[in-house]
Amino acid sequence: MRYAILLLDAPYTSQAAHSALRFTRALLAKGHAVDGVFFYHDGVHNAARLAAPPQDEPHLVDAWAELGREHAVPLQVCIAAALRRGLLDEQEAARHGKQGASVEPPFELTGLGQLVDLGLRCDRLITFGP
């Protein structure tokens, strides 16, 4: 089956990101297709490239990036939710006159239309909230 994941909270604030990551890994292990993980609301913080959690705790940002690269799963971050929360890639940083970026590939900033498209295109959309 084709799945999409919607993640609505930051790592380290609630368990939502941990649950979403494990569920997505289980989907892939079972041979399902994951057409995308969409990060919305505080879920955009999963793309924070500067996150530096203690070394004895799971590193969610790195884990998502690895999953995205290894399984070619698009990691789509809502651009409107991200900008107001301080998550900018280089292009957006330049556009807003800010030095430096807080989001980098494989995370990509994109519009909400992608969420609607994913949700209607896939067989299942599974949401993880705070």
Partner: protein
């Protein structure tokens, strides 16, 4: 038939919203803090979904709730969670 997931404890009003949204054959899976609902004292709150109530093994275990879980609750692991989403037509998340 839909799968509803709930990650809030039965002390939260979100449980009432989830129950309001459930059809007669829908299933309810407790995850994260929602597994507090697997405690025996909470089962009265779940009467309307008797036989259709599930809880995630890993979340029960990490909270020390596995041995306290009410017998009527069906315990599934993350693979079981995936299987429930396959069997059900859609999933709705309550948080």
């Amino acid at each position: 038939m839909l799968l509803h997931t709930l990650n809030r404890s039965p002390l939260s009003a979100v449980l009432d919203q989830a129950l309001a949204g459930m059809g007669p054959d829908d299933r309810l899976l407790l995850i994260e803090d929602g597994v507090i609902g697997a405690l025996p004292a909470q089962q009265a709150r779940f009467e309307s979904v008797a036989g259709r109530l599930y809880a995630l093994h890993e979340d029960l275990e990490s909270r020390g709730l596995l041995s306290l879980c009410a017998p009527a609750v069906r315990v599934v692991d993350i693979e079981g969670f995936v299987a429930l989403t396959e069997e059900c037509e859609r999933a709705v998340s309550w948080y």
